[in-house]
């Protein structure tokens, strides 16, 4: 067993579907997509912070998977394979955004997007208690801004471990590195996050 599929509930045996899709059966590929796309979209949404970017990553990732399906050789689980594609796209995206941030001389609040999405989310869940909502919103804002202080790789490892519940060994596999490195990265990421969150309190 390579990785736990915590996000999926359990491991799904896709071998038959993959083989059919490799022979050009588009319907089989679409079924396959549906096994994974919710967590893919979730990952992309968390990491890009915007629905439209998430949708772009989603689209690009599955099209890439479709075109390259022939090269999938069952050496790792399909889940790992598809996540490797998604994580690469997301890392590109995060790096581009970081560059953009540095390039902007005027102090545009580049994480404003992030804030607003968390606010929106808090709104959607808001009950009859405005004070609690305010606090929740405040907290969401803090977390969002703490997360932006991580490097793209730290962010990715933290996301996969914390929000997707993957084993560090699987995370390492997805990011083409060792379990040990993933472990260290997670440690660093949480240190930073804790520091950032306690500062703000």
């Amino acid at each position: 067993m390579r990785g736990s599929l915590a996000a999926q509930g359990n491991r799904i045996d896709d071998t038959g579907l993959i083989r059919e899709a490799q022979q050009g059966n588009r319907a089989a590929f679409e079924v396959l997509v549906r096994h994974y796309d919710q967590s893919v979209l979730r990952l992309a949404l968390h990491l890009t912070g915007s629905e439209s970017d998430a949708q772009d990553v989603y689209q690009e990732a599955f099209l890439k998977a479709y075109k390259n399906l022939g090269s999938f050789r069952f050496e790792c689980s399909f889940y790992t394979w598809i996540y490797r594609i998604v994580t690469n796209l997301c890392l590109d995206h995060l790096r581009k955004r970081n560059v953009r941030k540095e390039d902007t001389p005027v102090a545009v609040d580049s994480s404003g997007e992030e804030y607003s999405r968390i606010e929106q989310f808090a709104d959607a869940r808001s009950g009859a208690n405005p004070e609690r909502d305010l606090m929740r919103r405040e907290l969401g804002r803090k977390i969002g801004s703490a997360l932006t202080q991580l490097t793209p790789r730290e962010r990715m490892v933290f996301e996969l471990k914390h929000y997707h519940g993957l084993k560090l060994r699987t995370v390492g596999e997805m990011l083409n590195t060792t379990e040990e490195t993933a472990k260290n990265t997670l440690f660093r990421a949480t240190q930073k996050l804790r520091a950032a969150l306690s500062e703000m309190r």
């Binding site: 050009g24 590929f29 679409e30 998430a54 989603y58 599955f62 099209l63 929000y163 560090l168 949480t190």
Partner: protein
């Protein structure tokens, strides 16, 4: 010393990443050391804090992402040229049950006109008139429902229906041109029509055959061909015709419904989209239909479609 080691590993303890031995040691130590127990508490709190406010993609976002992907997949091919050449004809062959064909087609094309023509001729016609390359069969006379040697059809020249009857006249090419006449119920005629709806070189022919096919949409193969035409035909008139033929099945056949929804979103012709919109109106309580309507009401290029979609949504009872 021990405390240092435990502090280093509490995080992995919380994240369930410790081997059994290490886990046991950490637990033992935590039982004895109140400071480290505090650290555990802080780590757990941190974990819980970050687990709050987790944003999940909305069902709408998921649905629209899926639809966008489906659209893109339709125009995307897997792998390289090899796939394109082998899989494309294989797909339509399968669809119209021409299974024995691929090898035979290659074989026949390879051997060229003369041999091929003779072979077709014997297979399809049974009446031979020396060098002529056109055989004519009327519905009553033709060997009833005898399927054509499907591998021999290379294209359909024309489809005409005699007004007021269900007699259809089809000119089709094998390696040579042949002609077949028969009733709509004739298996041979159906097969030719299905083939014609799929072939691409003459939109007039596709229009005629789709038109005739819409008279027999109860047959699932016919429906399949109509769906295919709706999705893939380059001619908007043909797509509209196909949509017409499918109209009775939107409610009972989910495949048809999906096809219509796809057309509603992706068809470039606003007339086709408008027609599709009318077809799904009775189904607007369906959640897929609703999400498509929502999307249309916001993003369709055509203002009258947007407003119509909006109106349809507005009439709907709120539900979740």
């Amino acid at each position: 010393m021990k405390c240092d080691w435990v502090r280093q590993n509490i995080l992995f303890y919380v994240y369930n990443e410790l081997e059994d031995d290490a886990r046991y040691e950490v637990e033992q130590h935590l039982g004895r050391c109140p400071e480290c127990a505090l650290e555990l508490k802080a780590t757990r709190k941190f974990h819980a804090t970050l687990s709050e406010n987790v944003q999940e993609p909305s069902p709408n976002l998921l649905a629209s992402s899926r639809m966008r992907l489906q659209e893109a997949l339709e125009t995307t091919r897997q792998g390289g040229l090899w796939h394109r050449m082998i899989l494309e004809p294989a797909a339509w062959l399968r669809q119209i049950r021409m299974a024995p064909a691929l090898a035979a087609v290659i074989f026949i094309i390879g051997f060229g006109g003369g041999i091929g023509a003779t072979y077709n001729y014997l297979a399809a016609g049974r009446e031979s008139s020396g060098g002529t390359i056109t055989s004519s069969m009327t519905g009553s006379k033709s060997p009833a429902n005898q399927p054509l040697e499907s591998s021999t059809i290379t294209g359909i020249r024309s489809v005409t229906q005699e007004p007021g009857s269900n007699q259809v006249d089809i000119k089709y090419d094998t390696v040579s041109t042949q002609e077949a006449q028969g009733s709509l119920n004739d298996q041979r005629i159906q097969q030719l029509l299905l083939f014609a709806a799929h072939t691409n070189y003459n939109s007039g022919v596709r229009m005629d055959s789709v038109d005739v096919l819409t008279q027999a949409p109860d047959d699932s193969r016919v429906r399949e061909a109509l769906l295919y035409a709706l999705q893939n035909d380059t001619n908007a008139g043909v797509r509209l015709k196909a949509l017409d033929g499918l109209s009775g099945f939107v409610r009972q056949d989910p495949t048809v419904r999906d096809g219509v929804l796809r057309a509603l979103i992706s068809d470039e012709n606003s007339g086709v989209r408008m027609q599709a919109l009318h077809l799904v109106e009775p189904m607007k309580a369906d959640s897929n239909v609703r999400s498509v309507l929502t999307r249309l009401s916001q993003t369709d290029q055509n203002p009258s479609i947007r407003s119509q979609a909006k109106a349809m949504l507005a009439q709907m009872p709120e539900m979740d």
